[in-house]
């Protein structure tokens, strides 16, 4: 066991966990932040996506020992960012969600895309969102919502 000081959504959080524990489980089990979802556990589905220093990151495969002092932003905190707010509003406006299980990861990846590429093409969207799977197949509405958020951010 080891003690880590984490920066989560702008707040300092102390946890005492095994260094090999994936960040996902530190968030969900230690900090009780259950907005970030467990999907596959092997970084294949994107449900566990959070931001580490602004980079969309699969928290299920990142041991807490490798997080260091990087800023962690989760679905609970992304609304504080203007792009994050616009994406969440667009998600509601376009009624993207069906079962909703994958959607926190979808939103985190969409925000990372728009932060780097404010006017994404269909190809940009397909490439950047290609690692986020949705068993309800809400892909068309996800694309519409990303374009809508892009328009709102003009």
């Amino acid at each position: 066991m080891a003690t880590y000081q984490l920066n989560v959504n702008g707040q300092r959080k102390q946890v005492n966990v095994d260094p090999s524990t994936p960040l996902l489980w530190v968030l969900r089990e230690e900090l009780k932040m259950t907005g970030t979802k467990y999907g596959c556990g092997i970084s294949a589905c994107g449900a566990c996506t959070v931001h580490l220093d602004g980079v969309a990151t699969r928290s299920c495969v990142v041991p807490v020992s490798l997080v260091s002092d990087r800023s962690i932003v989760t679905i609970e905190g992304i609304g504080a960012d203007p792009v994050g707010r616009a994406v969440q509003d667009a998600w509601v406006d376009k009624d993207v969600v069906q079962c909703g299980y994958c959607q926190s990861g979808q939103i985190m990846s969409a925000v990372a895309l728009l932060q780097a590429t404010p006017r994404p093409s269909d190809t940009n969207i397909e490439e950047s969102m290609g690692g986020n799977l949705c068993r309800c197949a809400t892909y068309v509405r996800i694309r519409e919502a990303i374009k809508s958020a892009s328009q709102q951010l003009k």
């Binding site: 524990t21 969309a56 990151t57 699969r58 299920c60 990846s109 990372a112 895309l113 690692g131």
Partner: protein
């Protein structure tokens, strides 16, 4: 008078024979030196080519060539299959926003989750592709030409190539590739790192010779 003439002729003959012998011996020695130098250079090139083949055997091992693709994606595993999760190259070889290499690959191996890592994890540029578009490794001659072309290899001369093979973190990673998700160790390249660097040094000191292209070279 006659005696003086004989003496003169004998002396002249001795001088002529001596001079001819000296010329013959000198010429012979020169030829020997030239032949020795020629065979020395051949041996040096031969050693260099043999060393290159050792270097090549490492470069086309999965730990190296999986990220030297000619395609829009990296590979993974000893069978060099396409990287899962729709990972693509991206404009700088580091993936795309939302799906970067560092979305999963951290600065070190994550043995508890089986994800390999190293500082600045990324794909080699297309100018340093060591495969064809069908994911088949290029020939020894073709890879050698790519590695020695400073317009393609990031401006690395021979000395810099030795340093690259000796110190570059992602090169070193190949000999410390971490555990697979099932907990087993990833396969290592066919040479030790020390042997790889020594072979690179021998090849560079021989002038980085490359095998001649052949008909099947891609």
């Amino acid at each position: 008078m006659l005696s003086n003439s004989r003496f003169f002729i004998r002396t002249l003959l001795v001088i002529l024979v001596s001079t001819a012998t000296w010329i013959a011996l000198t010429a012979s020695a020169a030829i020997e030196v030239r032949e020795y130098k020629k065979s020395d250079a051949d041996a040096n090139r031969g050693d260099g080519l043999a060393a290159w083949q050792k270097v090549y055997s490492v470069l086309i091992s999965p730990r190296c060539i999986n990220c030297h693709t000619a395609t829009n994606y990296p590979q993974q595993g000893d069978d060099r299959h396409r990287h899962f999760a729709n990972v693509i190259r991206g404009p700088g070889g580091k993936g795309v926003p939302g799906l970067n290499c560092i979305s999963c690959h951290q600065s070190a191996n994550a043995d508890s989750t089986g994800v390999p890592g190293g500082r600045n994890w990324h794909l080699a540029p297309l100018s340093m592709r060591w495969q064809d578009a069908n994911d088949r490794p290029l020939s020894s001659a073709a890879v050698c030409r790519a590695v020695t072309d400073v317009s393609k290899n990031g401006g690395l001369n021979g000395t810099a190539l030795i340093k690259h093979h000796e110190e570059e973190p992602l090169v070193l990673w190949a000999w410390n590739p971490g555990l697979r998700p099932d907990g087993s160790m990833r396969t290592l390249p066919p040479l030790s790192h020390a042997e790889f660097v020594a072979a690179t040094r021998t090849w560079v000191e021989a002038g980085t010779p490359c095998p001649p292209p052949n008909r099947t070279a891609r």
